[in-house]
């Protein structure tokens, strides 16, 4: 038996159908996970049969949408559905063993949806890299992609401001201070990282 993974995208409406189908065909429920993205929460349902691991992804579920529970078919999902509800704030309806938002006692509500400055920065950086890469590729086909220069602090600043606009002023100030320190460190770190990466081989 070999092992293979597959990623597919489905819509929210197709979920019950998928769950029924998988049940009928004797697939094993592997897991449910959520990823917080700008567009909403991605839900990934994984099923497995004969070494084939299929991950079906529902992109960008928003707060006002309700996701039907699949515990009618796969009871084992109750753990993950409760978890996704508590940590990501996804509304899941009809969980067989529903802890009603008390699966975890948490300091913050829906902690996984809070976009930390680090995550923000990382996404930003990734976007820059991607942009730069695209630009480079366009500019010259023969050059192999190489290390990017560190993102310009100004650009980051702009982005940050945009993000902070919505926050309450006190918090925003804090974040801003943190970001400044972060940016400075980042700049220093970028250099050392480049170096060690080179030496690591």
């Amino acid at each position: 038996m070999g092992f293979a993974t597959e990623f597919t995208t489905i819509t929210l409406q197709e979920l019950p159908e998928l769950s029924n189908q998988r049940k009928a065909d004797g697939w094993r429920f592997v897991q449910l996970l959520a990823v917080n993205t700008d567009a909403g929460i991605d839900l990934i349902y994984s099923f497995m049969k004969d070494g084939l691991l299929v991950n079906s992804e529902i992109k960008g579920v928003t707060k006002d949408q309700t996701v039907p529970s699949i515990t009618n078919n796969f009871l084992a999902a109750f753990v993950f559905e409760n978890e996704v509800h508590d940590l990501f704030g996804v509304n899941i309806e009809g969980i067989a063993i529903d802890f009603g938002g008390n699966f975890y006692a948490l300091a913050q509500k829906e902690p996984m949806t809070i976009i930390s400055p680090e995550q923000k920065a990382a996404r930003e950086k990734a976007r820059k890299i991607a942009e730069a890469k695209a630009a480079k590729e366009k500019a010259s086909q023969e050059a192999a992609p190489s290390e990017q220069p560190a993102p310009k602090p100004e650009v980051e600043q702009v982005n940050l401001e945009a993000k902070l606009a919505g926050m309450d002023p006190e918090k925003a100030a804090k974040v801003r201070a943190a970001m400044e320190a972060k940016a400075k460190k980042e700049a220093a770190a970028k250099k050392s990282e480049a170096k060690t990466d080179g030496e690591g081989a």
């Binding site: 220093a188 770190a189 050392s192 990282e193 170096k195």
Partner: protein, 125 residues
């Protein structure tokens, strides 16, 4: 089925030397590479800060202005990545674990000035 399946082992236990390491009277000889605690051979350290950056716990703090290298042993998880990443190989994983204490503290090492260090940075730049 049957009883006293462990009978032989329990009886023979009476006549055998127990396998207990009678610490602290007796100590095991630490094998090489035992993850005990991290120390810094400060004569080599160039305060580059790589260890600080690599540490997944933020247990190390390198201060260039004060010329100190400090480690919070109550935060270090002995992952050894600082040791592996230190460019000067001045970090050593000692095979003895950090002592217990009634209060948490940070171990601070003063890093003396040494000329060579400047060269190293230059060459590697």
């Amino acid at each position: 089925m049957g009883a006293f399946k462990l009978g032989k082992m329990t009886i023979s236990g009476l006549f055998k030397q127990p396998e207990t390491v009678q610490y602290p009277v007796q100590t095991k000889t630490p094998p090489t590479g035992l993850k005990g605690h991290v120390t810094n051979d400060v004569t080599q350290c160039i305060l580059c800060g790589i260890c600080q950056k690599r540490c997944p716990c933020g247990a190390i703090e390198v201060s260039k202005p004060n010329r100190t290298w400090s480690i919070n042993r109550f935060r270090c998880v002995q992952c050894g990545s600082c040791v592996r990443e230190c460019p000067k190989s001045c970090l050593i994983m000692e095979p003895t674990y950090a002592p217990c204490s009634t209060a948490k503290h940070v171990d601070v090492f003063e890093v003396p000035e040494h000329h060579k260090s400047e060269d190293v940075i230059k060459t590697s730049e």
